[in-house]
Amino acid sequence: MSAFDTTVHLIYLACAVGFVVGLHLMNTPATARRGNRISAGGMAVAIVVTAVVLGHDGGVTAGALVALASGAAAGGVAGTIAARRVRMTAMPQLVSLFNAVGGGAAALIALGDRPGGTSAAVAGVLDVLIGAVTFSGSLVASGKLAGKIAGRPIVVPLGRPVTALLAAAAAGLAVLIVGFDAPAGALYGLAVCALAAGVLLTLPIGGADMPVVISLLNAFTGTAVAMAGFVLGSTPLIIAGGLVGAAGAILTKLMADAMNRPIGAIVAGGYGTGDAVTVAAGAGSAAVRETTADDVALQLAYAERVVIVPGYGLAAAQAQHEAAALTEALAGRGVAVSYAIHPVAGRMPGHMNVLLAEANTPYEMLRDLDEGNADLARADVALVIGANDVTNPAARRAGNAVSGMPILDVDKARSVIVIKRSLGHGYAGIDNELYTDPRTAMLFADAKAGLTAILAALHAYA
């Protein structure tokens, strides 16, 4: 190995260390931003070194240079603009889009660099297969999250048999490519099968399962990038791909556990229509106690500890700023306030935390499931805003749609206030027993309007 090659490899190693250190620093909000910048620094160095390698080795035609430079410039600008403009509520679809293009790029590498030799051919086949499934699957997921494709599970006629046929065709092509050195067309055929399978696999998956799906697709892209690394013999791709694969796998497991749903059932699809039947307020709800914004304001003002339980309804109503204003007003009166956040409170892992952080909520107030439950057990008032299934005490019993799902123990608080537009059901489609608990009072309002009224009452009377 020449001195040049050795230096290049050592620099790549340093870049990989940058990625690992960057991820490690994400273990607290205080250091996370620095971590991301270290990771970005490693990336910048890796790109510069690769440019130097290309110049040193020669052999890049003018046409290739133009294609590379113009493609990269356009992509870089497009990505940066999208990243700067995106609203925090739209984060899941943007992350899905970035995931899609990463998988797409990985698949194109194997298509462009016809892998020679058996092991490289195997890696190439896996790269194309996983990369292409991720590309089309993430695009569909992104479209669903953005509302451009219906979020409900879409049943494709003959979807399963067609997917099975595609899988069989892909397997056949893979054997031809690896074992019999099939012509280049076979790899393209494989890509087409995988693209179609990605669409068919993602369409039937419902809105409620999106946090799991985008985590799973993230793990896929990591794996595809690692496979591209095997094809090219490039260590930085293998390391980064492995790290991302692990991240995606962990998040997939955490999300599936948080919903108590096996990953296989999620991929099979059909759950979480997002079109829950809305039941009119008061209808058939003799046991439900209704309250007013004035009463809620007084109750909160004279509490010692308040725990807010936000759900996606809060974000959908764009009410996180009102929630933050209420928190500030209460904290000003000496009330201890925290947020108990269920892992699937948003549309992607950790989404609700970002929405609250955007509204200037200090991160010390943000509690995960276990910490939140510890807080709830000591709370005077639990204020539930737009969360439903994740607060249903029925989950502790067997035999219903939410059985076994880890929940926030809102019913352990001394009193409970629920701000909700109606007694409508969540994704699980069952009554929430919390609403008929004698200690629960319902404030029937849109999250934003309800919080604004409480805040006004707090300033007026308390």
Partner: protein, 94 residues
């Protein structure tokens, strides 16, 4: 199995294990920036696309290269920028 492939497999396996160790310590509060930050890291695929440039010599090859470069650059630039934007919003009480 060639020594080169064995070395690559070793690196991949260890990267997975390191990933599991490091990432399981990230708090739930930061799971969204974690995912988008990890997303940005797989943007390293741009290095692979650059290496691909050395073998492209046909019009079809150039077209494929340009698309791959567009995808990879979007992934890496957008991923880091959006992660930084999110992490800047996480503020302490003080």
């Amino acid at each position: 199995m060639s020594p080169l492939l064995l070395a690559d497999l070793t690196v991949f396996t260890l990267a997975l294990l390191v990933g599991f160790e490091v990432i399981s310590k990230v708090p739930a509060t930061l799971h969204t920036p974690l995912m988008s930050g990890a997303n940005a890291i797989h943007g390293v695929v741009i290095v692979g696309v650059m290496l691909l440039a050395a073998t492209a010599s046909t019009t079809a090859g150039y077209a494929l290269l340009a698309i791959a470069a567009f995808f990879a650059a979007m992934n890496v630039a957008g991923g880091y920028v959006v992660t930084d934007r999110m992490l800047a919003m996480f503020r302490s009480r003080s």
